[in-house]
């Protein structure tokens, strides 16, 4: 289907379009036109990705600037999906336009997924693959080879140098598989092909971390130009990603390893002094000037900022007392030793970076300034010493990053030392959490650097929370509803058991046998009536375990067992994968199954239960975070003081976004149907925080049901769904053909005209009068509001 939005022709690879897709594209275009950021919530299963790609590609090809698209998603499977969609889209464009556009898109993944080296790729752990690859590809290794030394190089990497650097792969869309196949064919490394081609691509698809984790972004993403369009898809958890990327946990073990690393460095320095002192001298001379080459510095806006490496630091020279390699190593050792003494404390400590620095200085004479340079100085040293087994230095690097961050940010971070793993533990196992409290710090460079950042997800309500937490202003904030020809999903809130006792996972009553029994009844009833798959979400593993064991005692599981196979998610990902596989098999062969999982676990985030895999989702209890966590408390307090977000507001927002995420799991398209049950009394008050599209489908009457009422409603719904439904009924309502679209556009235009005309008439009549009533009302309201103040 081809159609126009304003002057922009959009090629959409399907013959029909959903109304919300059209609205979504219009808003996207508005955002791009104004070079601003936006937050968009699009119901799950309404083709968000394809609308996004069609519009942005159309935009890219239409305007001469050809703004690059950086599309970030969360998991590998989502990245693959997006690449497949893009491929289909480009195929369609070629067919329609009659020629192939000059267009390149790559998906970037880790070396683990992209390596071809026969022995390296067989390594199990990603970091080992990285390390081994580095030892085969580093610049100085090559130099050594040229000098005639006997060192191994990766042939796949060497072959790349023979090609023209801007044309390593032909045009087209390169999925991960495609890259691998092409690489195997031409004997060139897919990973480095993708990395090096990023600058020459129209579209790049990769994971969040490549942009948000300062350590990776520094190497991969800093060179993108300012007018890139950045998309964060499935972004409902983006604040947590930001925070995690800047938080560091230090344990006694990691400190021990760091000490070992520092000792190794010491040895290497002595070695190098006797063999190749000039290199060290060289580095020293460079550091006198500053961290970055003078040439690099001149071009200021060239790179994206790095939160772990503030701008002013790049321009400054390294402090004199860590300029020499040996001085720096002894500096690091002292710092590590200090951290070790801190670990000895047997009570919980929570302090701010300034007070930490103060104490540090009193004890060890380490000043703030050299500390800030730590991470960069270490990188420089590692490079100078030509170390290949960088893996061994990872704990040391972590300590150095910690040093830099703690000395750079006075606020937005907190240090929490927890000497014991749990309240009851007797043997100390101290962990020093250096936690970022402010999600805006990690993402700030992205907003500063790129003119259009699009944050989108199926469940990202309430929209205004995100700009507040991430510190940006959005030009467009929209939540779309789902247009449906018939009601194909049934959300409801169950607040009472059949005995009218309230059900809730609140602390006071969560282990109350009557509540547990009511939950059990709910489960059995829905197991009886739901065809095929049923998914149940619990707030936490702990709660799930206790409730399952209680059900076992009440013989509830025996009843469930008659109707469905019972499978449980565990923290172990392999076990869970096995459970999922069995679940799918049982759903497909008609046995039917129920999967018990956790609202913050892997299943709730990345696994779809489309069609018969999930006909009902049961959300047992509100999935609040564990509020006793000190880190969470600190973060809540921070947000309270700095962003004016109330503790309770945030907690409830966070719980509801996870609940919504769980609910969205069962509905993956318009031809899908499912029941969504929220089983907790407290949901009743929180319904406004559900995404608009779910909330709208939830009539007031169904927000306060008892178990038997819910069963009745669900049965009726399933009976409706079982009536064969002709796709033609959807025509013009929930799917538009081109004609429908044109009709809609004409109508919108007419409406606009009418409004304009009405305004004109108002003016002609002398203004004011026509709208007098409204005006009065407003004044009145304002006055009232003021009186209340």
């Amino acid at each position: 289907m081809r159609f126009f939005i304003d002057q922009l022709e959009v090629l959409f690879p399907y013959p029909r379009i959903y109304p919300e897709q059209y609205a979504y594209m219009c808003d996207l275009k508005k955002t791009l036109d104004s070079s601003g950021h936006c937050v968009l919530e699009m119901p799950s299963g309404t083709g968000k990705t394809v609308s996004l790609l069609s519009l942005i590609i159309a935009y890219q090809q239409h305007y001469p600037e050809a703004r690059k698209l950086i599309y970030c998603s969360r998991t590998m499977s989502e990245i693959e999906k997006a690449l497949a969609e893009l491929k289909a889209l480009m195929k369609y464009r070629t067919e329609q336009l009659g020629y192939e556009e000059e267009f390149r898109a790559v998906g970037l993944s880790s070396r683990k997924n992209l390596c071809l080296h026969p022995s390296v790729k067989r390594e199990k752990s990603g970091s080992v693959v990285d390390a081994r690859c580095r030892s085969l590809t580093a610049g100085f290794v090559k130099e050594k080879k040229e000098r005639g030394e006997d060192v191994d190089l990766c042939i796949y990497h060497e072959n790349l140098d023979l090609l023209e650097p801007s044309n390593l792969i032909p045009t087209g869309v390169w999925t991960i598989d495609g890259l691998l196949r092409y690489g195997e064919d031409k004997k060139q490394c897919p990973y480095f092909t993708a990395r090096r081609m990023m600058q020459f691509c129209n579209v790049i698809i990769y994971s969040y971390h490549y942009l948000l984790d300062p350590k990776i972004a520094e190497r991969v993403s800093k060179e993108f130009s300012k007018d890139c369009i950045v998309v964060f898809d499935e972004a409902h958890n983006i604040d947590n990603v930001c925070i995690e990327s800047l938080s560091i946990d230090i344990t006694e073990d990691s400190l021990r390893k760091a000490t070992r690393g520092a000792n190794n460095l010491d040895r290497k320095i002595t070695e190098m002094k006797s063999t190749d002192a000039a290199k060290l001298q060289n580095e020293y001379a460079k550091l006198v000037e500053g961290l970055r080459d003078a040439g690099e510095q001149r071009d200021e806006g060239a790179f994206m900022a790095n939160p772990a490496l503030p701008d002013d630091l790049l321009k400054e020279a390294v402090p004199g007392n860590i300029r020499r390699a040996e001085h720096f190593v002894s500096f690091l050792k002292r710092f590590i030793e200090y951290l070790k003494t801190r670990m000895k404390v047997h009570h919980v400590i929570s302090e701010t970076p300034p007070s930490f620095l103060q104490h540090l200085k009193e004890l060890t004479f380490i000043e703030k300034k050299p500390l800030r340079f730590c991470a960069e100085r270490l990188t420089s040293l590692v490079r100078t010493l030509e170390l290949t087994n960088i893996e061994d230095y990872k704990p040391l690097q972590e300590v150095a990053t910690f040093a830099t961050l703690v000395a750079t940010y006075d606020t937005g971070f907190v240090l929490i030392l927890e000497p014991y793993e749990s309240e009851t533990a007797q043997v100390p196992n101290p962990i020093l959490h250096f936690t970022c409290l402010d999600a805006a710090i990690a993402i700030k460079p992205v907003f500063d650097r790129f003119s259009s950042v699009i944050i989108t997800s199926g469940t990202i309500s309430p929209l205004e929370m995100y700009p507040r937490m991430l510190g940006f202003t959005a030009v467009v904030q929209e939540s779309y509803t789902m247009t449906l020809a018939r009601k194909s999903f049934l959300p409801m809130i169950v607040t009472r058991g059949s005995d009218q006792g309230t059900i809730s996972s609140g602390f006071q009553i969560r282990n109350d046998p009557s509540v547990v029994r009511n939950y059990g009844n709910l489960l059995t009833e829905f197991c009886k009536l739901t065809p095929d798959g049923l998914v149940v979400f619990f707030p936490s593993y702990l709660y799930m375990e206790s409730i399952i064991s209680m059900w076992q005692g009440m013989a509830i599981l025996d009843t469930v067992w008659k109707h469905k196979l019972i499978l449980v998610e565990t923290p172990d990902s392999q076990e869970t994968a096995l459970a999922l596989e069995t679940f799918r098999a049982a759903c497909s062969n008609g046995r039917g199954a129920v999967l018990l999982c956790v609202a913050r676990g892997k299943v709730s985030e990345g696994i779809d239960f489309d069609h018969h895999y999930g006909r009902t989702v049961l959300c047992i209890g509100v999935p609040f975070q564990y509020t006793e966590s000190r880190i969470l408390k600190a973060r809540l307090q921070f947000m309270r003081e700095n962003y004016n977000i109330r503790e309770s507001d945030f907690l409830s927002f966070d719980a509801m976004r996870h609940a919504a995420q769980c609910l969205g799991r069962v509905l993956r398209g318009k031809d899908d149907y499912g029941i969504m049950v929220l089983a907790d009394r407290r949901f009743q008050k929180k319904r406004a925080q559900l995404p608009k599209w779910i909330n709208q489908a939830l009539p007031e009457a169904e927000t306060n049901l008892s178990v038997d009422q819910a069963t009745a409603v669900a049965k009726r719904f399933l009976r409706d769904m079982s009536v064969p439904f002709d796709g033609r009924f959807q025509e013009g309502v929930s799917t538009w053909s081109k004609a429908d679209l044109l009709r809609h556009k004409a109508k919108v235009e007419e409406d606009e005209l009418r409004v304009l005309r009405a305004e004109r008439e108002d003016v002609d009549m002398g203004g004011g009068d026509g709208g007098g009533d409204d005006g009065f009302d407003e004044v009145d309201e304002d006055a009232l509001a003021e009186m209340d103040l």
Binding site: V288, E316, A317, V318, P319, G320, N321, I322, R323, R324, E326, H327, S330, K333, R334, E337, Y338, K340, T341, K344, P354, S355, Q358, L363, T364, F365, Q637, R640, E641, N644, R646, E781, L784, A785, E786, D788, L789
Partner: protein, 385 residues
């Protein structure tokens, strides 16, 4: 002040002690013997002297003496050193130790413990800060040198020379060191004060928030009560009343939010203003600023006349009393002085002399210009070929 002066002197005997046997001292530190002692200490909590273990006596505390950094338990220290200085009981260590010097060990690694002691000594002497230097590079070079000295002292390289440097600097810059020390102390107190202030502010903010919440809750309750009352007393559409009430509640809620932010914002401003405190203080120590003088100090005073406060000039009398003139900044005094300086402007100017002088310089510059021009010609022809 007197204490500060004493300090460098007080450090002297200790310093000589270390210089005397510096070499031996360090070789001792590198000896495997100490390393072993240190290792076993780490794994077991047993006093190497009396062999009692922390397992049996959880209150046991270990102490070290900065002379040799040998660790022993508190009761051993009491037993051995209470009656005056005595030799270290650890086999192979001949050092004489005093009880007063014993203290708790801060760092697990005795090398770092010792390093920090040395650093403390060095930092007391080399206490310049960045503001003392013209450029950052100078400061960094200074830091580098200091670190060199410290590093040498710690690792036993050229101990004597380094000590000499340290001592030399201390003697040469005694006054400055004291000043810097005072400055650092002051900075520390202001820092502490600021920290307290920040804490206080955040506490206040938290309290205000809490009060706010409480008030909101009260209001909500009251609103609900109002609705119920109205429902009871007023007749009419019940739903209408409820809806009105709810709108009112929401509105109250909305308007309450923005005004909470402001006080905190202004508070941080004030706090920022405080930050400059230190910079200001230092300015007074610099030279007091002289009044601004245009023309690089050239002042043309009226040599030939003394301006009076008032002259009897009837055509002006309206002006110096008329508000319309005065409002614009007119001052009769300025007018008088200008009139006088115009009147006497020509005096003390000797035209002949000046003309003679000008001729001289004029001719000189002319020839120079010609030379330059000729040069340029040459250059140009060069360019062409």
């Amino acid at each position: 002040m007197s204490r500060a002066v004493q300090r460098p002197g007080g450090a002297a005997p200790k310093r000589t002690e270390i210089t005397d046997d510096g070499g031996e001292f360090h070789s001792y530190f590198d000896s495997p013997e100490l390393r072993n002692v240190h290792k076993t200490d780490k794994t077991s909590d047993i006093c190497p002297v009396c062999k009692s273990s922390r397992y049996l006596n959880p209150q046991m505390k270990f102490l070290v003496n900065p002379e040799c950094y040998h660790k022993m338990c508190e009761s051993c220290v009491d037993r051995i050193f209470s009656s005056g200085p005595a030799p270290c009981p650890i086999a192979g260590c001949r050092r004489t130790l005093r009880k007063a010097k014993f203290r708790a060990q801060t760092f697990e690694d005795v090398f770092v413990e010792r390093e920090v002691d040395i650093r403390r000594r060095v930092a007391k002497v080399f206490n310049r800060c960045e503001e003392d230097f013209e450029t950052l590079l100078d400061y960094n070079d200074y830091l580098n040198d200091v670190e060199d000295i410290t590093y040498n002292l710690i690792n036993g390289i050229d101990v004597e020379a380094s000590e000499k440097k340290l001592q030399g600097y201390a003697e040469a810059n005694r006054q400055l060191i004291d000043d810097n020390e005072n400055r650092a102390r002051k900075a520390a107190t202001t820092y502490a004060a600021r920290q307290a202030q920040v804490k206080e502010q955040s506490r206040l903010r938290r309290e205000a928030n809490m009060r706010e919440e409480e008030r909101e809750r009260q209001e909500r309750l009251e609103g609900q009560r109002n609705i119920i009352n109205q429902l009871a007393s007023r007749d009419g559409d019940a739903e209408q009343i409820v809806r009105e009430g709810q709108i009112g509640l929401k509105r109250r809620h909305k308007t309450a939010i923005p005004d909470r932010r402001k006080p905190s914002a202004s508070a941080t401003k004030a706090e920022d203003g405080k930050l400059l405190y230190r910079g200001l203080k230092k300015k007074t120590e610099v030279e007091p600023e002289r009044p601004f003088s245009p023309y690089a100090g050239l002042r043309i005073a009226n040599e030939y006349s003394v301006v009076q406060d008032h002259y009897d000039a009837p055509w002006l009398s309206f002006a110096w009393q008329d508000e319309r003139y005065l409002a614009g900044g007119f001052k009769i005094g300025d007018f008088y002085s200008r009139v006088f300086s115009e009147a006497f402007a020509g005096l003390s100017v000797f035209v002949d002399e000046e003309v003679a002088g000008r001729n001289l310089t004029g001719s000189f510059s002319a020839t120079e210009g010609a030379v330059a021009a000729a040069d340029q010609d040459v250059n140009m022809s060069d360019d062409i070929f």
